[in-house]
Symmetry: C2
Subunit: 152 residues, 2 copies
């Protein structure tokens, strides 16, 4: 029989964020966030894809819980939600070094590249200011054809 460590281990930022809000850490939540962390940033997964990736690696989490958890992780700013037009929404690990990147999407094959541009960020700020709006977030989606799809 293994006894738990006698010291109190540091809770992860995820766990303490949950706790401080009366919410609980669960295996399902851990699995979803871990998937994104293992896969790294710059990868954009749909809820369906999260579900099948977990299923394939033997972890059973219901689709409804995945949707709930994704929403939660977005609200907690661990994930970023993308609306790339075609198909369902996608989610990516929110990297704190590149929080404001934008996306270049091949509308044929779905290949997606990321880029940053301060002018875009400023354009959003400026527009919000001009109309007296309080800026939340601005996202530039560039729809295009990748080299492979472009020459036939």
């Amino acid at each position: 029989m293994i006894s738990p460590p006698s010291y109190r281990s540091h809770p992860s930022p995820f766990e303490s964020g949950l706790r401080s809000d009366g919410k609980r850490m669960t295996p399902q939540r851990k699995k979803v966030l871990s998937l994104f962390e293992e896969i790294g940033s710059g990868i954009h997964l749909s809820a369906e894809e999260v579900h099948s990736k977990l299923t394939i690696s033997g972890e059973k989490v219901s689709l409804a819980t995945i949707y709930r958890t994704l929403r939660l992780l977005v609200k907690m700013t661990f994930l970023n939600e993308l609306d790339l037009s075609e198909g369902g929404n996608r989610f990516e690990l929110l990297s704190h070094d590149h929080p404001d990147h934008h996306h270049l999407i091949c509308i044929r094959c779905g290949r997606t590249e990321e880029f940053e541009n301060n002018n875009v960020i400023n354009a959003g700020k400026e527009a919000a200011t001009n109309f007296g709006f309080k800026l939340l977030e601005s996202s530039l989606n560039v729809r295009a054809l990748c080299p492979k799809c472009s020459n036939k």
Copy 2:
């Protein structure tokens, strides 16, 4: 009994665009495009809204036909399709003086303002060039709170 005019009237750009592609002008198609033209640019309508506006003014066009026609009008570049995240997609008359405008959206009440910014356009071009993509279109969506929704 009224006879049709004996001269051949100039077909509209819409009609000639259709004809040149083996497609036909129909009352339904005319009604949908006319609605957008009468209502003017800068107005963003969902398919459902197009349907109810036509229904209210006594024009009966089925919802399926409206979806088909909206797709067609986008492909023919008479309309622009917006993906403002929340709810269904919206459509607007594509004004040829302001083809590349962007949108500032209040996520609470839906109020939407338009703005133009050359830096944004250039950012899209630049990103496409850097990755060897062929640019199709780029759209900046700024999510924010309008003054009314922002203070309470």
